[in-house]
Subunit: 719 residues, 2 copies
């Protein structure tokens, strides 16, 4: 996709299906291009010699175009695309609707469209797109009513109507764009392609998106991680709630992945998520114009105590904190301010402050190294003119490295000062909370930019053995494996209690004797789900009793369900639960993001308290560590309530090994290690996977282990 | 305070300290009154015959005023108030600052002001107030720059600057008020007085407040509960966060109560809490103009799929739900809409919808009984005119009982349509989320209006015996009581395990023999905090061993700390923790709201998961029940994970009895029953308070039990 430069900065744009017919999309696109585009607009339509006073060619082959905008009826779109391909026009924007969003026939047509684009190596936007824009050349290749103003935001949207709405608003508020793309059905180009392009584009300061789904989560995460080191990405992911997801799916046919996966994936990608239109543009506005704060301390300077308290509350709600001034700052404020003023943060210059006092206070706090960001906050008074204050704010903004936001609390009199501030890139609101929230966005972005993404955890593992165990699913009816697959964990170095599955009383006794202390014995059968309920589990069995217990368990299982498949009896070392903490490590496969890992404390914590955390696999060591730290019950791992702390590194390593397993084998659809007992840090094995369940898709399994993709180089030493 | 009518609708208003001096507050107030007030304005100042062309009297006694606005210097305010009192002017607004907000001397002056107001039975606003307004008579008795427009909102604020800011904005946005009060330091009249007045005031549709503190939490709750049955109250409680509370306290000297108490108290009071200025006015606007929805189902009608999804997400985030249409509605929509339209909720009339199609869809859904509220949501298109859509929305609003909000997603072209909608009381935003949130406010208010506030729980209790136990604190150095106060619980009918505190081996044996099964024995000493650590607790003691165990425990305590006060040894029935669930019921006394009850599950749930809930006491049975239902770990009480459910009614009764105890005895500052073991529902006592700790203020205790106030009539039968 190296040619997106040409897509957004073409010399010649062809409109395939251009027409002078009033009210038609073909006319609207042609007219929009003719109006502002610096390059050449070439109408293509065999039925006309001229469209809107411009020479019209009969065939795209005669247009010599860098970009073709296709507006012909759906039935002939494929012919038009083929013609583009043959003519060597590599960038195509398909505005025509009637594809995947309309049912079976449309979906087939869309598949053929994608195949053809692949064949001719086309960059294809759409179908069902409003079009694209790029302001440096004035290109408006959409059928929307308005062109964008120039600016530093590049904007992609899965909703064309949302673009129309945003431009209508943005043009009246002086908000400008570099490029705009209506993604349509994303048959070929999707959000990841544009992130990659805009991430390297000089003209793009901030990437903003309205997304209802993400096509390829892993590619998205990787592209966004790289991009956000330089260029922030802010996005509304719509369809967050189950009601919203349903609405999104009926609207575009987008298959909704789980919100948990989006939450984890977008966070791992470094995307700043907005939950409303206001949040989206508040964030984009300040990210594009103000520097990133060096510290989280914010200084508030106000002439109004109450609003100062409101702003301070907003700081308390955010990732920011109230800056502690240096002694010099406090002293300088005390010298400059009247006695009744509050020289601590929030600084109250008092209602009778004129512009000089206000400016001086601003200059003093902006110069303090503890101050990462500044909020200018004013109520209307007889002595302060908002215009003067806006100018003073702009002056301070020129000389300080701290970002600034302003809140001018008033009506129409704020309009001009607000415009001045916004022209200089300083956001201005009525509500103090909104001013603080916009500054907080900068701090969030600093955290993202400072992230050092580590490599996924990788260990020396036995992939062939894992494959053999997974392949045993071919013998099953239900694609599920249980405790009989414990060796799968073993193959990936996940510690499991000593033991084996045996098929005779003699072997049971032998295995039990080989294990120190008493053992646990369990029926192994895919047909018996609740083993305890039928007496299929025996705890604390001595070596001497192992053989008899084997017979008992088999008899009970037979009595309970004569036709059940019995795979044998598991004889397992007893793990002392009293010393450890039960955790759950699980995974399910998300349609967009692939393997989604889950971690939580066992029992009530997952089932009742829903205290869980998620990451898209593969995870790095820091990501796995975060999982063990961010659950609310994390203090229990660290030894709350007088217990010994568990060996958290052993848990992290298990998460990493599971991450590698589910990444290596896309055939694993779901997997739960429940419980993974985390044990106190001593010199033995400090975690024990006591039970496992998984679902495998036999169709996705390779035919033999030689078809396995190469494992990454181990980045972690095995203990 | 029956005379607030006169305060807000006076015939004559005196300005004590009126002056023609430019830039003075006295001139500003006089000028504001003279400008719009329908009644008579009487300047009072011995130094002038006329002020601003109006006859000035030398003494308030000559003014015959219903309201006196006092602007004289702080040193002579008290004289002026006395003169008002003597003159029979019962309503006084003290604008002068320099009282409690300025330190010791000012605080003394404020106390004398309050005493004088009490003596003369004055309704006194302030000091340190911007003044008051009432639009029906045009009275602007403030020194602010603008008068309010007439409307249905009555507004009180602890920040004068916030009033100035809000009026500046409101006047330019056509938002009107009935009365406005700047509360100032609240030396006499506070938020509760105005809630009581406005709750009965015909002209007030919605009460809105900016509060940094509440003076008397209990009175506030009672007044607000009554008021909100008819008139909604929306308030910003500023100083929510610890940073904000600190800022508020340095700003007004308000003593910050705990946010937990405010959260519980405002919710119990039925106050809708706003967290920002936008939220405050969004809520007030719709509450004053749109009806309360009959169901929580909301219908969205849009011409834009993407924004429809955003609105649906906002529904998912709110207390609302997406309405399920009746078959008739779906059919009617199918008949009226083109095939591509989505006739399910959110209804998508498609981008080519003209005003007729849009209106028809609106009419159809608004007529559906499952639809409690409607959101009209439009992106700009070539075929829809926002003005037409605004008019159609107003028409539908006329005929439907469902509240309506609109989102017109565009720039300047939305200005006039928005004004039209707002004039008709229909809120209009750009952001779909904000439209939904405003509709959700109506649903929240319906819930409040439908509340039936039950009487506080009250039981037959032994107050004299409780008093005797509390009085034992007089013998202590540290005001704390421990397990030796178990009888206090007993006196209030809270079930405790059988047992007694004994002072000899013989008594220990006797008590142990009287108890079925083994016993627990514990050292009782105010000087030994961690009894287990020194071997001061013996579990599972048989009757035969009780005497020896007594000696052992005493010896250990003596060895550990020879000078410790030993109150004896507690011999207590063993409560079987395995069958029960450990809970904690606690209380601490908040400076504003008084006794604040806490409930949670014991151990990790309170300590690690912070899974607790709070209510201001006294609580009714439904409130106590809510406490047991709303903690996240509540399923464990109901028998999650295969356990027997506990007797929740026994827990609720214990909460109710504790509520009565701490309400009866303001001397109890803190009290924890930890654990209260909740036991399965059988025919015995199904809860057991195993341990108690409390702090008592000896100063607050009555001298003898005959001074105890009367208990309320029992509303609950004792088991």
């Amino acid at each position: 996709m190296s040619m997106l430069n040409e897509m957004f900065d073409p010399d010649r744009v062809a409109v395939v299906g251009a027409t002078p017919r009033e009210g038609s999309i073909g006319r609207a696109v042609t007219s929009n291009l003719l109006e502002d585009f610096d390059g050449e607009t070439v109408p293509v339509n065999p039925n006309y010699d001229e469209v809107l006073d411009t020479t019209c060619v009969g065939d795209i082959g005669d247009a010599d175009a860098d970009v073709a905008v296709v507006v012909v009826p759906p039935s002939i779109v494929l012919d038009a695309i083929e013609a583009c391909g043959a003519a060597g026009t590599r960038n195509v924007v398909v505005i025509t609707a009637g594809f995947g969003e309309t049912g079976e026939e449309g979906a087939n047509r869309e598949r053929r469209l994608a195949e053809m684009a692949d064949e001719y190596e086309l960059n294809l936007v759409g179908p069902n797109s409003l079009g694209i824009m790029s302001t440096p050349s004035g290109m408006n290749a959409t059928f929307g009513p308005e062109n964008a103003l120039p600016g530093g935001l590049s904007f992609m949207s899965q909703s064309g109507a949302f673009i129309t709405a945003v431009l209508d608003w943005a043009n009246d508020h002086g908000v400008g764009f570099k490029d705009v793309v209506s993604l349509g059905n994303k048959a070929v180009l999707d959000e990841t392609d544009f992130i990659e392009y805009w991430g390297k584009d000089e003209g793009t300061d901030v990437i903003i998106g309205y997304l209802e789904g993400i096509e390829n989560g892993r590619a998205f995460i990787e592209a966004a991680r790289e991009t956000t080191q330089e260029t922030p990405i802010v996005a509304v992911k719509s369809g967050r709630t189950s009601a919203g997801a349903q609405a999104a799916s009926s609207h575009t046919g987008t298959l909704a992945g789980s919100e948990k996966a989006y939450e984890a994936g977008l966070d791992q990608a470094g995307v700043i998520r907005a939950e409303s239109v206001d949040e989206l543009f508040d964030a984009a506005g300040i990210l594009g114009n103000q520097p990133v704060p060096e510290t989280d301390g914010v200084a508030i300077v106000t002439n109004a105590g109450g609003p100062g308290v409101m702003a301070t509350d907003a700081v308390g709600d955010s990732v920011l904190e109230m800056a502690s001034f240096t002694a010099e700052t406090t002293e300088a404020l005390r010298d400059a301010m009247p006695e009744e003023a509050n020289v601590h943060n929030p600084v109250d210059v008092i209602g009778d402050a004129d512009i000089d006092r206000f400016r001086e206070a601003l200059e003093i706090v902006a110069d303090d190294d503890n101050v990462g960001a500044v909020l200018v906050l004013s109520a209307p008074t007889a002595v302060i003119d908002f215009g003067d204050l806006a100018e003073a704010t702009c002056e301070v903004n020129e000389v300080t490295e701290a970002p600034i936001a302003a809140c001018l609390m008033g009506g129409d009199r704020t309009r001009e000062p607000k415009r001045l501030l916004q022209e200089r890139g300083i956001p201005c609101y009525f509500d103090p909370a909104r001013g603080i929230e916009s500054l907080a966005t900068l701090a969030k972005y600093r955290e993202i930019r400072e992230r050092e993404y580590a490599e996924p955890m990788a260990f020396d593992v036995d992939r062939e053995r894992a494959f053999e165990i997974l392949a045993s699913v071919h013998d099953r009816d239900d694609n599920r494996l249980g405790v009989e697959a414990m060796e799968l964990l073993d193959a990936y170095g996940i510690p499991t209690p000593e033991g084996a599955i045996v098929d005779s009383p003699e072997r049971a006794a032998e295995v039990a004797e080989g294990i120190d202390g008493d053992v646990v014995m369990k029926i192994v059968s895919p047909d018996i789900l609740h083993k305890s309920d039928i007496g299929g589990v025996a705890v604390g069995v001595s070596d001497a009793d192992a053989a008899d217990t084997y017979e008992d368990l088999i008899t009970r299982a037979r009595n309970y369900q004569p036709d059940a498949t019995l795979l044998g009896v598991q004889v397992q070392e007893m793990v002392d639960l009293d010393d450890g903490v039960e955790t759950i490590v699980g995974m399910n496969r998300d349609p967009q993001f692939g393997p989604l890992l889950m971690f939580g404390l066992g029992g009530i914590f997952v089932e009742v308290m829903e205290d869980t955390t998620f990451r898209v696999a593969p995870v790095s060591e820091p990501e796995a560590r975060e999982m063990t730290e961010e659950i609310r019950s994390a203090p229990l791992l660290r030894g709350a309530r007088g217990r010994d702390p568990v060996d958290i590194d052993a848990v992290i390593e298990t998460i990493g090994r599971l991450s590698q397993l589910v990444t290596d084998f896309p055939a694993i659809l779901e997997l739960d290690i429940n419980p993974l007992v985390a044990l106190p840090d001593d010199d033995g094995s400090n975690a024990a996977a006591v039970d496992v369940r998984l679902t495998v898709d036999p169709e996705t399994l390779p035919n033999d282990p030689t078809h396995l993709t190469d494992s990454p180089e181990p980045t972690q030493t095995n203990d």
